[in-house]
């Protein structure tokens, strides 16, 4: 039976909380396994630094991802070169795996429009802040790709809260009807800001919602990067090359936890207790994979130390680069509104420039 044909209430696992093997190790080379671990460490360290930048007033509101590295890196790692990724707003880790420089993520949360500009060849859609809106775009893009006769998979991330929006239903329903090559990846981190998962749906699992759309739904231990990889890989392969009678789309529910606040503007102690957080911290995906890699001789102290150093350097360099970027020119807000700027917008832009000339930038900037 395929990994995807589980009872949706039955979580797929490969490693237990102590890094012991309890499932089938996916077909990844030693180098790839170690690289996955490194990416998770990178995401964790980036997160820590980003929160601290916000605290120091060097960055705006930021949504942390700590605890969710296993789901992000495990899933993004399962994509092929040509596949596409549709993020929500928390997939900084998945983005890196797919070629999005950390500097871009920093710039976006520092309020620079350029942070949302993916380089050519980086198959990532812009961050989607309005919840679940990206699901329909992922479905439409996958549909278009299928109509063009391509063979690509489209992964789309959203949260447990996101499954309550109408767009979730519409996106998955279209995907089922038009049999689009999508992997709908729900990061069920138990909370939508202060609202617990049970308040989003009376359904026992999110995975089982797929049954109603006519395709596979599978629940995976989202803090087990290897299980996430295995499930996502199977979903990606099925999206591209379904067997007779299989539907291309899959809904993956990755059960996990965000260790920190919803965003730096949130105080989780108001709505959840420390004991719950501790319980989930015991499932931390990073030590879990590290133990497995050490136990199987793929990693030792020296390598771990090297990785620590390399991720610290990489993040420090990204911060240096992002902070070296100057505040964009105010006239940039008029760019890319249309392909060619209408006359009255040209006039508005000119009036802004004239005012800056006359009064200086101090007349605009608050604080």
């Amino acid at each position: 039976m395929s990994t995807l044909q589980h009872d949706p209430r039955d979580q797929v696992r490969v490693l237990d909380e102590d890094g012991e093997v309890v499932g089938e190790i996916p077909d990844l080379s030693d180098g790839e396994l170690v690289e996955m671990y490194r990416q998770m460490r990178l995401a964790r360290h980036f997160d820590k630094r980003a929160v601290s930048l916000q605290r120091q007033g060097r960055m705006g509101t930021y949504p942390p991802l700590s605890g969710q590295e296993g789901a992000q890196i495990g899933s993004a790692y399962a994509l092929d070169e040509d596949d596409w990724l549709f993020p929500s707003y928390r997939e900084h880790g998945a983005g890196v795996v797919r070629g999005l420089p950390l500097k871009q993520t920093l710039l976006y949360w520092m309020g620079h429009e350029d942070g949302n500009k993916m380089d050519e060849g980086v198959n990532i859609f812009p961050v989607a802040v309005p919840i679940s809106t990206q699901i329909l775009h992922a479905t439409g893009a996958a549909w278009a790709s299928k109509l063009k006769g391509e063979n690509r998979a489209f992964i789309c991330y959203f949260g447990d809260g996101g499954t309550s929006e109408g767009d979730f239903h519409e996106g998955l329903n279209f995907a089922g009807v038009f049999d689009t090559p999508n992997v709908f990846f729900c990061n069920n981190n138990q909370w939508a800001i202060s609202v617990p998962r049970e308040r989003q749906t009376a359904s026992e699992t999110i995975a089982q919602k797929a049954i109603a759309y006519g395709f596979d739904g599978v629940q995976v231990d989202g803090m087990d990067p290897l299980a996430v990889y295995a499930v996502t890989r199977a979903a990606v392969e099925k999206a591209k090359n379904p067997e007779e009678g299989q539907r291309r789309p899959t809904l993956v529910e990755a059960v996990q936890y965000r260790f920190g606040a919803h965003t730096t503007a949130d105080d989780p102690t108001v709505y959840r207790d420390a004991e719950e957080v501790e319980r989930w911290k015991a499932k931390d995906p990073i030590p879990r994979l590290e133990k497995f890699l050490r136990n199987t001789g793929r990693l030792d102290d020296e390598a771990v130390d090297g990785i620590r150093q390399s991720v610290e350097d990489e993040v420090a360099e990204a911060i240096r680069e992002a902070e070296a970027v100057e505040r964009p020119e105010p006239s940039e807000m008029f760019e890319h509104v249309y392909e060619s700027l209408p006359e009255d917008l040209r006039e508005q832009r000119a009036s802004l420039e004239a005012l800056r000339e006359q009064y200086g930038d101090e007349a605009f900037l608050r604080e």
């Binding site: 705006g60 509101t61 707003y89 976006y108 949360w109 520092m110 309020g111 620079h112 429009e113 942070g115 949302n116 961050v127 802040v129 309005p130 919840i131 809260g161 996101g162 309550s164 929006e165 109408g166 767009d167 939508a192 800001i193 202060s194 609202v195 308040r199 989003q200 749906t201 503007a265 949130d266 108001v270 709505y271 505040r327 964009p328 105010p330 940039e332 807000m333 008029f334 509104v337 009255d344 917008l345 508005q348 832009r349 802004l352 005012l355 800056r356 006359q358 009064y359 007349a363 605009f364 900037l365 608050r366």
Partner: protein, 332 residues
């Protein structure tokens, strides 16, 4: 026995929202609050803080994350005799509920020929200037003012906030109540502890003047008043009118003020094109053309998507831009 005295509290605007909700919920058991994170968390801006403990989970309801669901079910509740006050976490996320608001809340009375009504208040923080992420800074009051059947209210002081919110909750028709989050905590003001109302549809003259009428609302009221004080030093005497209700507009106060000054400017952070500045200019044309000495100056957000926060200070009308616009109208 001493007569009961009205005591006042010194509250921020967001505390006045909370106080308005608290006051009406205490008075009327049909009033309930629903939305995302409004319960235990007390709202992401703390506008419903403590209400969950006070009134319990049946009246302060954390809903699933679905704006159409929140407003659509509130419409059903309102038609069925309750007085729901749904909260939309940020105005930028109101769009999933747009269909419910404009196709149903606004028209239930008309469509049922008065059999059903929709006395609900959709609350949402709006506006820029708080270094918020994408989609968290928009001002789209004009979308709703354009819709017959809705009332649209935007307070700018703690006192008005409580009084207008209570009026909105007691109003027999649906009200979109937009809260200027830039000034949620910017200053405090006296707010009576008792219940009181500030009528919907009445503007407030914040500064009397003779040279020009400047119409504004919400978070733009403060920079406009500041510009007016700066201009006073240069000999320009501005009248500043805080409209407070965007629909129905207080035509009488607008026209009366304009007839006195003969010149007008409108300040809003929403984009210029299709913004309410155009509506106000039209009212002036219709009712006071012969008094008009200069074109109505519109000082507004640019016709671009609201930029990410690195540039938001350039997008929002600053004191300097307001002064410049007023001068244009005065020196015409």
């Amino acid at each position: 026995m001493a007569t009961q005295q009205t005591t006042t509290q010194n509250l921020t605007l967001v505390q006045a929202v909370r106080d308005g909700l608290y006051t009406e919920m205490s008075r009327d058991s049909d009033v309930l609050v629903l939305g995302e994170d409004v319960g235990k968390n007390g709202g992401v801006f703390r506008a419903t803080e403590g209400l969950y403990d006070e009134f319990g989970p049946d009246r302060v309801i954390d809903t699933p994350l679905a704006e159409s669901g929140i407003v659509g079910t509130a419409i059903g509740m309102a038609a069925y005799g309750l007085k729901p006050v749904p909260e939309i976490q940020f105005m930028g996320f109101i769009y999933p509920a747009f269909d419910q608001i404009v196709s149903h809340a606004a028209r239930l009375r008309t469509r049922s020929r008065g059999r059903f009504t929709c006395p609900l208040v959709v609350r949402a923080p709006y506006g820029g200037g708080i270094r918020a992420p994408e989609h968290h800074s928009e001002s789209k009051e004009a979308f709703f003012a354009h819709e017959p059947g809705l009332k649209v209210v935007i307070p700018s002081t703690p006192h008005d906030t409580k009084g207008l919110l209570i009026s909105a909750i007691r109003d027999p028709d649906p009200v979109v109540f937009l809260e200027p989050k830039l000034i949620y905590r910017a200053f405090r003001g006296d707010v009576p502890e008792d219940d009181y109302t500030v009528p919907i549809g009445e503007a407030a003259v914040r500064r009397e003047g003779t040279d020009i009428s400047v119409f504004t609302w919400g978070a733009m009221t403060r920079p406009t008043l500041e510009a007016a004080e700066n201009l006073a030093e240069a000999g320009v005497d501005c009248e500043v009118v805080d409209l407070r209700t965007m629909s129905p507009l207080d035509r009488e106060t607008i026209v009366e003020s304009f007839k006195k000054t003969g010149r007008a400017a409108v300040v809003h952070e929403a984009p210029k094109t299709g913004g309410l500045g155009g509506e106000i200019a039209s009212i002036i044309q219709e009712e006071a053309l012969l008094y008009q000495e200069a074109p109505v100056e519109r000082i507004a957000g640019f016709d671009t998507p609201f930029p990410l926060y690195a540039l938001e200070d350039y997008y929002l009308p600053s004191v300097a831009r307001v002064e410049e616009g007023i001068r244009n109208a005065v020196e015409f």
